[in-house]
């Protein structure tokens, strides 16, 4: 199949993805109240002012007990804390607006560690009505079987390995994932490199990816995409240990090969280290472009010297300044909220937590409206399939394969002197249909079918 056209900054600003927007949601969006729809008060979101709210007698009085497992310590807390902050901000906004069908959410956050199944089981034993997380790709692979067995809805904040809903769990009921899966960002990285350099100008490429499921998945998809669309060959592939303390030899190897493109899915401290040591050894001069799907996840740790050069970064399904504030204020408002509450730049992982909570809350709100009472887990799970909702990142659809589809963001990583923070400019957003296969298809096979 041919690749669909890319949306650009000049393109659609409301960032509609796939799926249908509900009548009331569309009306609200058209009325310019997207932020309220996204975050606030699910009653206000899904019910018009003239519609009756469900009989409160059919809805329990007590708060909704929710559990989030995320990395709160260790190197991965760079991502995990962002997800926690985002989830807590969503809960705060929902509760301030009256809760989910009148029920406030109480979010219990636990350290993910390597106890994904134990954490989830404890949540279930404690009577949690919904669970969120994990961050870990490997952990998510381990967890989904247990979620299906125990039957309490889980919306993963991250854990984005592509094969999850393609091969490992092809008919899930209770396990969902909010954040873009790897195929979207790895394919976006390849397409960005091609757009910037031209397919005919790319003869060689190199990889430096973290040595675990995520890094291997990203490399496989990036390689498949760039080799499908160019005649380039891979000249180096390194898999440094996750949270390594030295990338210098990988950098030396890349500098030696002088590839046209360097792809890296390193994140957190690894991304900072790679770019810092890359600057030391002239890696930015030795390559024509560096593309990294999650480099901006280290936005809070970069200094301006780290990101000099032709470096392009993804930002998954959310970048706080796209569309820019003149056209879409919710992103900037979320930035301000994160700055005020945690003094942090909200990255895509902030949205991972925010969106997972919002996805569940908006679906349940609508379901309560329909059923006239609080729904069972099976009903919530069924309602989540095909559920469309807004966040400050735009519109999202939880598809029938339980993977949520949103736009993919990619742009040039640069330093904003005025704000004294790293930002992404020349942003391109891609419709999910452009960078991920239809539900039921295998990503790599789908990419190999491109002409």
């Amino acid at each position: 199949m041919d690749k669909p056209d890319t949306q650009t900054e000049e393109g659609r600003a409301d960032s509609n993805g796939i799926g249908n927007i509900g009548r009331r949601g569309m009306l609200k969006a058209a009325g310019g109240t997207a932020l309220a729809i996204a975050l606030a008060g699910c009653s206000d979101v899904l019910l018009g002012d003239d519609e009756e709210v469900v009989d409160v007698a059919d809805v329990p009085d007590e708060p909704v007990e929710a559990g989030l497992q995320t990395f709160t310590e260790g190197p991965a807390s760079v991502l995990g804390l962002q997800a926690q902050f985002g989830a807590e901000e969503a809960v705060r906004r929902i509760n301030d607006a009256g809760g989910v069908a009148g029920r406030e959410i109480e979010l219990d956050v636990v350290e993910e560690g390597d106890s994904w199944i134990e954490n989830y089981s404890r949540f279930v034993d404690d009577g949690k009505e919904v669970t969120f997380g994990p961050i870990s790709s490997g952990g998510h692979l381990d967890l989904v079987g247990e979620v299906e067995a125990q039957g309490v809805v889980n919306i993963a904040t991250d854990g984005t390995v592509t094969r999850m809903f393609e091969e490992e769990l092809d008919d899930p009921t209770y396990a969902f994932r909010f954040q873009n899966h790897d195929v979207m960002e790895a394919a976006s990285a390849a397409l960005t490199a091609i757009e910037q350099l031209g397919a005919d100008e790319i003869d060689t490429y190199a990889n430096i990816n973290p040595d675990y499921a995520f890094g291997q998945d990203e490399r496989e998809i990036f390689n498949a995409t760039i080799e499908q669309l160019t005649d380039a060959e891979e000249v180096y592939s390194g898999f440094p240990e996750l949270a390594t303390d030295d990338m210098s030899t990988h950098v030396t190897s890349v500098v030696s090969e002088e590839p046209d493109v360097l792809f890296t899915s390193c994140w957190g401290g690894d991304a900072t280290l790679l770019l810092s040591q890359g600057q030391d050894q002239g890696m930015m001069d030795a390559t024509d472009i560096i593309v990294g799907p999650v480099l901006y996840g280290s936005a809070n740790d970069f200094s301006s010297g780290d990101i000099e050069g032709n470096i392009w970064s993804g930002s998954r399904n959310f970048y706080w300044d796209f569309p820019d504030s003149d056209r879409w204020s919710p992103g900037r408002e979320l930035f301000d909220a994160a700055q005020e509450a945690e003094d942090t730049i909200p990255t895509a992982h902030y949205m991972s937590g925010y969106g997972a909570v919002t996805c569940w809350a908006t679906a349940v709100e609508g379901l309560v409206d329909m059923l006239g009472g609080w729904p069972e887990q099976e009903q919530i799970a069924a309602a989540l399939e095909g559920h469309g909702f807004y966040t400050p990142a735009g519109y999202h659809v939880m598809a029938e394969d339980h993977q949520c589809y949103s736009n993919a963001h990619f742009g040039r990583l640069t330093w904003n002197d005025e704000m004294d923070i790293p930002v992404i400019e020349e942003m391109t957003i891609r419709d999910p249909r452009e960078v991920s296969p239809p539900p039921g298809e295998i990503s790599v096979e789908w990419i190999e079918s491109w002409s």
């Binding site: 310590e73 190197p75 760079v78 030396t252 957190g268 401290g269 040591q277 050894q281 301006s304 010297g305």
Partner: protein, 324 residues
């Protein structure tokens, strides 16, 4: 550029080797403390890696304190002042470990000298966990680097050796300095244990504690001094590592400890010469393994250790249980 048979040019070969020697120099400074402590005290200190981690974190705080108060290097004079401040930060970071390690030895380690090794391992492992949590409480869970200087990391601001002009390849000046510091530390330790009275007393105590006590040596003081010395060098290496903009993390001590064990097993427990040779070997093998076959990155040092254990079980400079 001349090509080697491995199709790596000399510039790349030099950089790969320098990368390995740099890593080896850092490892040596950690492992030397570990091996001295074992050689004299007979304690395998599992918390030793945390001294390294604390040194790295202290550097981030102290260097940041200086960086925000000193003018960025723009000319030779300001560069010299800046470099002096960073040297002071490194030495201060390491020096703070002296009372910390000394106090730990006097209060926690000393009571269990006569216990079975299992107790020592359990106790030092408990110390490791406590120190990791202490780091998290003080500096948080996320990776930390010193504040940047005009957007540049410290080591970039101190990049004063024109490597490209002189040798045809780019390489960090701070790394070159670190390598020389590693060599200097090795020579200092050899001199200290060989030529100074204190060093000889420590060696005598390591060889025969009772005999040393009989001639008036206070073994308690010697043990405290040795433990503090080990802490100093571990902290020193952590601080130096941090200057190179390598993020300090609460977990960094774990990897350092494991590789230090590899180093002292290769070199021979208790041998400073062995630690130095073992560390450089581990670093260079690690670096060249990545260059030639990247998937071997983690396995290469351990493969080298197994090889040495099979061929020479006592290590290259075996001096088990004493300082040599």
């Amino acid at each position: 550029m001349i090509e080697l048979p491995l199709f790596i040019d000399l510039g790349d070969a030099a950089v790969h080797t320098l990368n390995g020697i740099f890593r080896g120099s850092i490892l040596f400074m950690i492992a030397s403390g570990l091996t001295i402590i074992f050689g004299v005290l007979g304690v395998l200190n599992l918390a030793h890696g945390e001294f390294y981690g604390i040194g790295a974190f202290l550097l981030t705080s102290i260097a940041t304190f200086f960086v925000v108060r000193i003018a960025a290097p723009t000319d030779p004079l300001s560069t010299a002042i800046f470099a002096a401040a960073i040297v002071i930060a490194v030495l201060l970071s390491a020096a703070i470990l002296i009372p910390i390690a000394g106090a730990i030895e006097a209060t926690v380690i000393r009571p269990i000298y006569d216990r079975a090794e299992m107790y020592q391992l359990l106790l030092t492992y408990a110390l490791l966990l406590i120190l990791v949590d202490t780091i998290r409480i003080i500096w948080g869970s996320q990776p930390v680097r010193p504040a940047a200087v005009d957007g540049q990391q410290i080591h970039a601001a101190l990049d004063v050796i024109p490597m490209e002009e002189l040798f045809g390849f780019q390489y960090s000046s701070v790394r070159i300095f670190t390598i020389f510091i590693g060599i200097g530390t090795f020579l200092f330790l050899l001199w200290f244990f060989d030529r100074t009275k204190t060093g000889r007393i420590i060696r005598a105590t390591a060889i025969d504690r009772e005999a040393a006590t009989a001639i008036g040596v206070s073994s308690d003081r010697v043990f405290t001094l040795v433990f503090a010395l080990g802490g100093f060098f571990a902290g020193f290496s952590g601080a130096l590592y941090s200057v190179s903009a390598i993020p300090a993390t609460a977990e960094m001590g774990g990897t350092a400890l494991v590789l230090s064990f590899v180093v002292i097993v290769i070199g021979g427990l208790g041998s400073i010469r062995g630690s130095f040779v073992g560390a450089i070997l581990v670093g260079v093998v690690w670096s060249w393994a990545i260059a030639e076959y990247p998937p071997a990155e983690i396995a290469a040092p351990f493969a080298l250790m197994i090889l040495v254990l099979l061929v020479r079980p006592e290590g290259l400079y075996g001096a088990w249980g004493e300082i040599e």
